[in-house]
């Protein structure tokens, strides 16, 4: 194969010391793996918390290990709710697909030797790491972790421990952790955008970038615009709590017969600031999964991505609309009913780019020669889950229907399927797809397939029934069903979901084992085991320190030259010159 090569500068030498090589590394590949490992740790913590939530929901009076043989209190349950949501949203969904895979593969896919700002890159990882440590420490301070859920609505989150255990020091830790996380996310976003704009190899025009690069770029833009707002909101909240200002706390609050010394603030203001960040955050979580899916569907259908231009526009459209719909989280908060109607039309408009994407994913497979490798299975699973989870949004985006469904399990089922599980399937797919490149070993196919099947069926068994519970009217964030009569008949379904969750969580241990086993004993991966066309497959597995081994890649083609008529093979690499 004759790769296009421009004049080669000298080869950049890798650092040799342990600390510079593995810990405070400036190499985007090491940083990518660090992010990926952080997210892997976080996802098992977050999943462990959800396991305990499920145990309590199914068997409220049960006694479980690690709780001193006592029953789990309702405040402990709510602490789990808060921490599960926070850890999953920030340290898994935001961290793995962007910080992990994006860091590792964005520079390689655009033909760069590294990110634009290697030092910032290292800083953003370590800042994120510190944020994670602070978040975990919230469990161990007096009063434990906060109980106000990941949305942290004031006044519950703003008046201190009097509002409940965990709302004291635990809540402070939570805000500080989120603030630190915002800084790391902003540094990362800046780096991603600059890298995409300025570091592309010769010939790599924007419209020749793989879909994955596009989503990392759009996600970074969302992050750059959203995290500053969350940081600002967090500072205001922290000042309300510690300095005694009244940004979010109204006057005349009485808790436990004590008058709270604040006046005139607006709890709704927090909701606006939070959701202005929070809704784009949903797309920060799901867009990278969409990109990985688009990529993988094309590779294993042996076909170009269907409607590449429309896909790019849909991504940008979702990104733009993502900033205009935050109010749909607040239909019943007391905001203006007219505003709600505007938000609702904009929200349902987001269905349009989502519909384009679904249509084009099926279009990508249509007429293909599908290879059912493990990454492909997860990508197909992603499409199915995205359809299922996305459509229930049509209910929730309408204020009329939200009048009944708001804050029920219907919402829990909806967002877990679409931004939780679908996004995680994107990560599974990404892990399976890039593992050979990252570690130079193939993952075990049998274990992967068992894991896929149990997880795919398992997540449907967990989250579909939540929609039915929501239609009955089951409120979210209830520690058990004892307090409300109409919930009693739903207890059996809680037990069913908990069993499904236990099996599904068990399967994740297999995934973890597969990763460790494959790293050590997996068969050696070739440079291009999937016969894919993008630049990361033109270099050794794992890649050398400077990615292209002193070569400067030149790109001659689009990213999806599969089964092109007149070519001998059914794929042509991006850096293969035109004949």
């Amino acid at each position: 194969m004759s790769h296009g090569t421009a004049a080669a500068p000298h080869v950049h030498q890798a650092p040799t010391g342990f600390w510079k090589k593995y810990i405070f590394s400036l190499d985007h590949k090491v940083i990518g793996i660090q992010y990926w490992l952080l997210a892997l740790t976080a996802v098992f913590v977050g999943m462990g918390l959800s396991l305990y939530m499920r145990l309590r929901l199914a068997w409220p009076s049960g006694e479980f290990p690690f709780f001193g043989g006592a029953q789990m209190t309702p405040e402990m349950y709510l602490a789990l709710v808060t921490m599960h949501g926070t850890i999953m949203v920030f340290f898994v969904l935001t961290t793995a697909p962007q910080g992990g895979f994006g860091n590792y593969f964005l520079p390689i896919q655009i033909g760069a030797a590294d990110m634009a700002f290697p030092v910032l890159n290292m800083l953003s990882f370590w800042v994120t790491f510190v944020a994670f440590v602070v978040m975990i420490l919230a469990f161990f301070v007096e009063g434990g972790a906060p109980i106000g859920s990941w949305v942290a609505y004031p006044p519950l989150s703003a008046v201190g421990a009097i509002a409940g255990p965990g709302q004291g020091m635990g809540m402070n830790m939570w805000i500080i952790s989120i603030g630190i996380f915002c800084l790391g996310a902003l540094l990362g976003a800046l780096n991603f955008i600059a890298t995409t704009l300025d570091m592309r190899a010769r010939g790599m025009s924007m419209m020749r970038m793989p879909m994955t690069c596009w989503v990392w770029f759009v996600t970074a833009v969302l992050g750059l615009l959203a995290f500053g707002v969350l940081l600002a909101a967090g500072i205001l909240l922290l000042l309300d709590r510690t300095a005694g200002t009244s940004f979010f706390v109204p006057g005349g609050l009485v808790i436990s017969e004590q008058l709270i010394d604040h006046k005139g603030g607006s709890p709704i203001l927090w909701q606006h600031l939070f959701w202005f960040f929070g809704h784009p955050e949903v797309y920060i979580a799901i867009l990278p999964g969409m990109g990985a899916t688009s990529q993988i569907l094309a590779v294993f259908s042996r076909k170009p991505v269907y409607g590449y231009r429309a896909m790019v526009m849909a991504m940008c459209g979702i990104g733009l609309l993502g900033f205009l719909v935050w109010g749909h989280h607040m239909f019943i908060s007391g905001m203006s009913p007219y505003t709600a109607m505007v938000f609702s039309v904009l929200t349902l408009s987001i269905g349009v780019p989502s519909a384009i994407k679904t249509f084009n994913w099926i279009g990508t497979m249509w007429g293909g020669q599908i290879r059912f490798t493990a990454p492909m299975l997860y990508a197909i699973g992603f499409v199915s889950l995205f359809i299922s989870g996305g459509l229930s949004g049509i209910f929730l985006g309408q204020p009329s229907l939200d009048l009944y469904l708001h804050d029920t399990y219907f919402v829990v089922g909806h967002f877990h399927l679409v931004m939780g599980v679908a996004a995680i399937f994107g990560m599974f797919a990404g892990t399976q797809y890039w593992f050979p490149k990252m570690f130079g070993k193939m993952m075990n196919e049998t274990m992967s397939k068992i894991h896929f099947w149990v997880t795919f069926l398992g997540v449907y068994a967990i989250f579909m029934p939540m929609h039915y519970m929501g239609i009955v009217g089951h409120p979210r964030r209830y520690a058990d069903t004892s307090g409300v009569d109409f919930l009693a008949p739903l207890q059996d379904m809680h037990v069913f979901i908990s069993y499904a969750a236990m099996i599904t969580i068990g399967a994740q241990l297999l995934f973890l084992f597969n990763i460790i086993w494959s790293m050590m004993k997996g068969p050696k991966a070739s440079d291009n085991p999937w016969e894919a066309t993008t630049l990361e497959w033109s270099i050794p597995s794992p890649p050398p320190f400077d990615n292209f081994g002193g070569r400067v890649p030149v790109v001659y083609r689009g990213p999806y030259e599969y089964s092109r008529p007149g070519e001998a093979k059914d794929f042509v690499m991006q850096d293969e010159p035109m004949k």
């Binding site: 500068p9 000298h10 950049h12 400036l26 030797a113 590294d114 634009a116 700002f117 290697p118 030092v119 910032l120 902003l186 976003a189 800046l190 780096n191 955008i193 600059a194 890298t195 704009l197 300025d198 570091m199 750059l224 615009l225 959203a226 995290f227 500053g228 707002v229 940081l231 600002a232 909101a233 500072i235 205001l236 000042l239 300095a243 005694g244 200002t245 009244s246 940004f247 109204p250 006057g251 006046k263 005139g264 603030g265 607006s266 203001l269 606006h272 600031l273 202005f276 400077d546 400067v552």
Partner: protein
Amino acid sequence: MPPSMVDEFAHGNGDRLPPGTARRVYHTGMWLALIAISMFFIAFTSAYIVRSGLGDDWQALSLPPLLWLNTLILLASSYTLDATRRALLGGQREACNRWLMATVILGAGFLFGQYRVWQDLAAAGIFLITNPSSSFFYLLTASHALHLLGGLAALGYISIEALRFRLGPAKRTLVEVTAIYWHFMDGLWIYIMLLLWLWR
């Protein structure tokens, strides 16, 4: 930060990039940082506007006159920094250093002036929690001061390089990018002043 890291931070990874790219990414990166900073202050602004329209506890804060002097000092520092940049490009090392020192002194002077404004307000019994308007005053001015402190740190680094005679046209990217940041902080300050002055 160990020196080697500062080095890499300041010079970029120029040896791994095609010529001109390092210079371009630093400009792009700075503009992106300014977008992020803008969002941060836009969030405060929207909170300010919403909060000022709520409740009956909002008492307009009369701006201490010293602020206008500070504003002039900051504007002057932007001028001197631009003179620094021009002198650097023209290879006039001495003029460059002189303008640079003037900028550092003016920048520090602004921060000191802000500190005096806070002291005066505190002496008059106006603190962070006295009134929502004073909360926002301290919040906006302190956030701005913190950002400006970052700019001052960069200027300090440049000064050290300049005094060691290591500042030449080759390092103009660093000076240019810092200048963009500094001018932006200048504009941001004008914006904050107008907000506090006009929207009371």
